[in-house]
Point group: C2
Chain length 232, copies 2
Amino acid sequence: MVSVASDSDLVERLRAIGPQRYHDKHPFHQKLVAGVLTEAQVRSWVANRYYYQKMIPRKDAYVLASLPTREHRREWISRVTDHDGDETRPGGTEKWFALGRAVGLTDDYLRSEVGVAPGTRFAVDAYVEFAHHKPWLEAVASSLTELFGPPVMAARVTAIVEKYPWIARGGLAYFEDRFDLAKHDADLALSWVVEAATTREQQDACVAALRFKCDVLWCMLDATALDCGVYR
Amino acid sequence: MVSVASDSDLVERLRAIGPQRYHDKHPFHQKLVAGVLTEAQVRSWVANRYYYQKMIPRKDAYVLASLPTREHRREWISRVTDHDGDETRPGGTEKWFALGRAVGLTDDYLRSEVGVAPGTRFAVDAYVEFAHHKPWLEAVASSLTELFGPPVMAARVTAIVEKYPWIARGGLAYFEDRFDLAKHDADLALSWVVEAATTREQQDACVAALRFKCDVLWCMLDATALDCGVYR
């Protein structure tokens, strides 16, 4: 007999993806928090992930365009301003530039995208395309990697402070400020997914979307690691 | 000899479209401001244009997603919040519901879209698709109907107050508040278009985009007029 899974089944299925596939399991991330990366390798990570930071507001604007109601948009739009900033707040991208400066990269270098490996670009572009063309429910579900982010960000900040003393502490504001934002955004997105994914087919699509997003983050670290010689 | 037109040529070409094709020339609009529409015909106009109001924030979110820089997005994003509202302001859509109530239509009736003629839907959907798939420069140029809007809005408000005393004045806040917003938005969009449209090909595409948008607004009034018997 086919039955529709309950809400809590779906939440369990989504949460189970983190321990299996979130990018904190990636060898590059493990080396980062172990403190064994060279300065050049840390810089490569910051330069590659700049492209992700740059494209996230565009991804979120595509989701914004596809949301079904004004009420949804009024909640989601803060994702764009959180990254882009406004008259009163610098925004996440500005903080990523600060991290760049803290590791010795100029804003112009990051903006030039010279340090972005092709594989990073392919993965990030795939994510933007996903948000552009998939139904809003799947696009929102794909954002749920933020469910797994906060503890990983906390461990990453601790590791950077302890193990890379050459990185100025002020450069870590991006992660410190994302902590609460990610938690808020993940809770909201999860509540929408649980409410809207009522059929087994929709729930499977949401699980697949979150796996896809984990693949995006994983491939970004693959490309970064290969680019900066972590595997040599 | 082929030469690139100057900025002022482009501005002239764009501005020249208004007197030819803006929807204040449409017979339905002329009857509206002449005060000869029946209550049912005014209600049909409000119900049809609700669909336009509803879709505009989605259109603007697609443009937001396609803009080239954070600086562009930080300017453009207010178009979405101006319509959707936020914690402190009701937003344009809420004011359109107020206009609906002032002419005797419930929020539920507008939301049901029962009063939206198929031709209105086709025209509005074509505009959203245009913003979704065209380069940002053309999408921004298509918004330049706002260059022609403010004086038409002013005349419309005056006409409604004088000639349709059965419409509560409070219902006109949408137009009164759009006046300054439209001027600001049009000036900004025009400055971007003038700056970015440097080749003759781009300038022609911008002129075509504005003509297209005039066609959208015109067809909405065609559909409305046919739907509510203005031509019978």
